[in-house]
């Protein structure tokens, strides 16, 4: 019984053993298969594979690994991969590998190697830690990236070469422009001198043409110079305090003559949140606005051109200024609007032939705006006109900026605005209302008298009337004449966009003051303030003693850019003074000799705040010119001598001739600016 049981037991155990064996065999087969698969993969794969144990010994490498490093199996297992790292990368790689191993971090790096066979290669090594009971070891891959690196290097050097070539071209262009500009200055300067000599009519005509063409060419060159400066990254921006309102008005004055006699109204609207002083690059800011506004008259035959300056955003230390320039001109078709800002692109190839321009202006504007943190863009519809936008960030001025002053006398005074142009009326009404005045607007000349009479009847009379000279139903002269004939004593201010101001005609018609359009807020308010303060409508004031106020006779009372007449015959000194004063924000007009200075000043004394006078000049010297000016009745304008004769008695001779002061050459900037401050700003201050 026991034997049988033993046999059965034995058979069972054999069976179990056989099953176990079978299991082991199939497991072994599976393992072998898996190993075979791994080996196949490892041997055929295009990346090198390696395994390193805890103590840094190499346990496994595949064929590709051996190929990359130029080793046989034994060599590959007895050396470290980083032994082959090229000298220049060795320090960096060894350090990185060690620190990765210390902290069991993933390692990944590109480096150069010199293989055992002396071949130079670039490799990418990637190794990640594997954690097991025995601790951490690494498995990694090695990739030959020599070709990729070579390509990258080639691309890089090709890119550098291209950039260098581009910079060199821009630099060349900048140099060329400069080289062209210099002789151009000579041509224009000497043409000016030539025009001063005795020429017959034909010669004068030819010479003027040379001058005009020269100036046009110079403009073009300046554009190209700017453009290439931007391209070559040479343009620098200044941080100077300036008044954006003043700047925009100045540009309006500059652009107004371009409209000529076309029926186009120029409107300027300054948002009341615009700071009185900001810090930025006024020259560049002005350049963009001049360009955008200067384009409008070229394309606008009738209607209006308006410029609006507003503040779009404000941060703690900066403001985003936004200028909108609208016109009712020919417009640009939708598909061309974006292209106008591209260099050398104009809306139409024929545009440049008909309207001139280099095709660079707008592109320069765009780049300047971008460099000021803003942008330029346009909206337009063919035949309906265009709106150009310009935005720029400028810094707030830290010191307390001067407040815009409004004469207190204006408060609650009633003003009638008669202008057929609704845009202008709206701006004026806004300006006057903000100054505390009660404003009524009417759109024609005929209604002026009835409106005034009605107000008188209601015991709510007007104090001032602003009357446009050019209204279709009844012009301003006629209106004023009629009012004065009716015995009306109201203060009357004429508004006109005509270029020629006829002060005598305005005075004869009975106007008390005159303002050119676009009207400057400050000038208008100061003038009305003065007129009301003087009581020009007082019963006892004699009609003919009424002093005609032009916009300039109240000029001392308000800020505006200082304009200087420079009498100097030497081209170098002329140019230097123009550069120096221009940079400081002054406007300079040059007269080539004393006679020219007298003629220029006498023709429009309101234009200039002071005169710098060279003493020694051909035709008429500075002393004689001064004597002539004083004789002509220009007793108040400051005249400062500039002389290289710093000899004793010179000063006395200058003062005797009627000059106020003198500065000696060589011209010293600070001294010049001091003199301007003394004679223009301080004097103006005293008279307020």
């Amino acid at each position: 019984m026991a034997d049988r049981a033993t046999i059965i037991d034995l058979v069972k155990r054999v069976k179990t053993l056989e099953t176990e064996q079978e299991k082991t065999r199939s497991a072994q087969e599976a393992l072998k298969e898996s190993e075979e698969r791994f080996r196949l993969i490892s041997e055929t794969i295009h990346v090198g594979v390696f395994e390193v144990d805890t103590s840094g010994n190499c346990l496994y490498t595949n064929t590709r690994y051996q190929e990359i490093f130029g080793l046989n199996l034994v060599q590959s297992l007895t050396t470290d991969w980083h032994d082959y790292v090229a000298q220049e990368d060795r320090g960096r790689i060894t350090k990185a590998w060690r620190s990765a191993a210390d902290e069991l971090q993933t390692f990944s790096a590109d480096c150069r190697i010199v293989s055992a066979k002396g071949t130079n290669r670039w490799i990418h090594v990637y190794a990640s830690p594997v954690f097991s009971d025995e601790g951490g070891h690494y498995t990694g891959t090695v990739e030959d990236i020599t070709i990729r690196k070579e390509n990258e290097k080639e691309l890089e050097s090709a890119k550098e070469a291209a950039e260098m070539a581009s910079r060199a071209k821009s630099q060349f262009l900048a140099n060329m422009s400069h080289e062209i500009r210099t002789p151009m200055n000579g041509i224009i300067g000497f043409t000016d001198l030539l025009l001063e000599t005795r020429l017959d009519e034909v010669q004068t005509d030819y010479t003027s043409t040379i001058k005009r063409s020269g100036e046009a060419l110079l403009l073009l060159i300046n554009d190209i110079l700017d453009f290439s400066k931007i391209e070559s990254g040479e343009l620098e921006f200044e941080a100077i305090d300036f008044d954006p309102e003043l700047l925009v008005y100045d540009v309006c004055e500059l652009v107004r003559p371009k409209i000529g006699n076309k029926p186009v109204e120029l409107i300027c609207s300054i948002g009341d949140t615009i700071p009185t002083l900001v810090s930025g690059d006024p020259l560049r800011f002005r350049q963009v606005i001049t360009n955008l506004l200067g384009n409008a008259p070229k394309f606008t035959e009738e209607g209006e051109i308006s410029i609006t300056l507003q503040m779009d955003m404000e941060t703690e230390d900066k403001v985003l200024l936004h200028a909108l320039i609208r016109d009712t001109g020919i417009g640009i078709s939708a598909d061309k609007v974006a292209a106008v800002f591209e260099p050398f692109q104009q809306a139409d190839g024929s545009t440049s032939r008909k309207y001139g321009g280099t095709g660079l202006g707008l592109s320069i504007c765009k780049q300047l705006a971008t460099m000021m943190g803003g942008d330029t863009w346009a909206e337009s519809e063919l035949g309906k006109g265009s709106t150009f936008h310009f935005t720029a960030w400028v810094h707030k001025v830290v010191s307390e900026p001067p407040q815009r002053v409004t004469p207190a006398i204006l408060n609650a005074k009633r003003v009638l605005v008669a202008d057929d142009h609704s845009g202008t009326r709206a701006i004026l009404e806004q300006m006057l209302t903000l100054a505390g005045m009660e404003t009524v607007g009417i759109d024609g000349g005929k209604q002026v008298l009835p409106t005034l009479t009605a107000a008188q009847k209601d015991a709510n009379p007007f104090d001032v009337a602003l009357i446009d000279l050019d209204m279709p139903d009844m012009n301003g002269y006629a209106v004023a004449g009629k009012l004065r004939a009716e015995g009306c004593k109201l203060v009357l201010v004429a508004l006109s966009s005509a270029l020629e101001r006829d002060a005598a005609k305005c005075k004869a018609a009975g106007f008390d003051g005159f303002q050119a359009k676009p009207v400057r807020r400050e000038r208008l308010l100061q003038m009305i303030g003065r007129l009301l303060g003087e009581g020009a409508k007082g019963e006892d004031s004699q009609e003919n003693s009424r002093k005609m106020h032009t916009q300039y006779s109240v000029r001392e009372a308000m800020k505006h850019s200082v304009s200087i007449l420079l009498a100097e015959d030497n081209l170098v000194n002329q140019k230097l003074a123009v550069m120096m004063l221009g940079k400081a924000g002054y406007q300079v007009e040059v007269a080539g000799n004393g006679k020219e200075a007298v003629d220029k000043y006498d023709a429009s004394p309101e234009k200039f705040d002071m005169i710098f006078m060279d003493v020694q000049m051909p035709e008429m010297d500075g002393k004689e010119a001064t004597r002539n000016l004083r004789k002509l009745g220009h007793t108040r304008v400051p005249i400062v001598a500039m002389t290289a004769h710093a000899m004793k008695g010179d000063r006395e001779m200058c003062i005797e001739a009627g000059m106020d002061d003198y500065v000696t050459k060589p011209i010293n900037r600070e001294r010049v600016f001091d003199v301007i401050t003394k004679y223009v700003f301080e004097r103006r201050g005293h008279e307020l």
């Binding site: 400069h178 170098v572 000194n573 230097l576 940079k583 020694q616 290289a644």
Partner: protein, 105 residues
């Protein structure tokens, strides 16, 4: 000569200063020619006024040594001592040439 530094004294950048120098070479050269003509003709007034012009322009540009030489010529011409200015006129010429050579570099 350092155009950058000279320009800075006047509040101008190098390029602007170069423009002035170029203009000076041109117009100063014309003045110099007139001065030579004046010397040849024994016309002290012309010499004096040309030297004065050169003195002023060069002084303004900070070219003080040119200005000093021109000033010397002016002074002597004013006193009708044209016979004493030969050396100074030569110096002026050398200075002009040097500036021109430097500017063209």
């Amino acid at each position: 000569m350092n155009f950058k530094a000279l320009g800075e004294q006047l509040g101008l950048d190098e390029e602007e200063y170069r423009e002035l120098i170029d203009l000076f070479i041109e117009s100063g050269g014309a003045d110099y020619q007139k001065l030579l003509d004046g010397v040849a003709a024994g016309d002290a007034d012309t010499v004096c006024s040309c030297a004065h012009t050169i003195k002023g322009a060069s002084g303004n540009l900070g070219l003080l040594d040119v200005s000093a030489v021109a000033s010397l010529i002016e002074e002597r011409a004013m006193n009708h001592k044209l016979e004493d200015i030969g050396q100074a006129v030569e110096t002026l010429k050398t200075q002009f040439d040097a500036i021109q050579a430097f500017a063209q570099k």
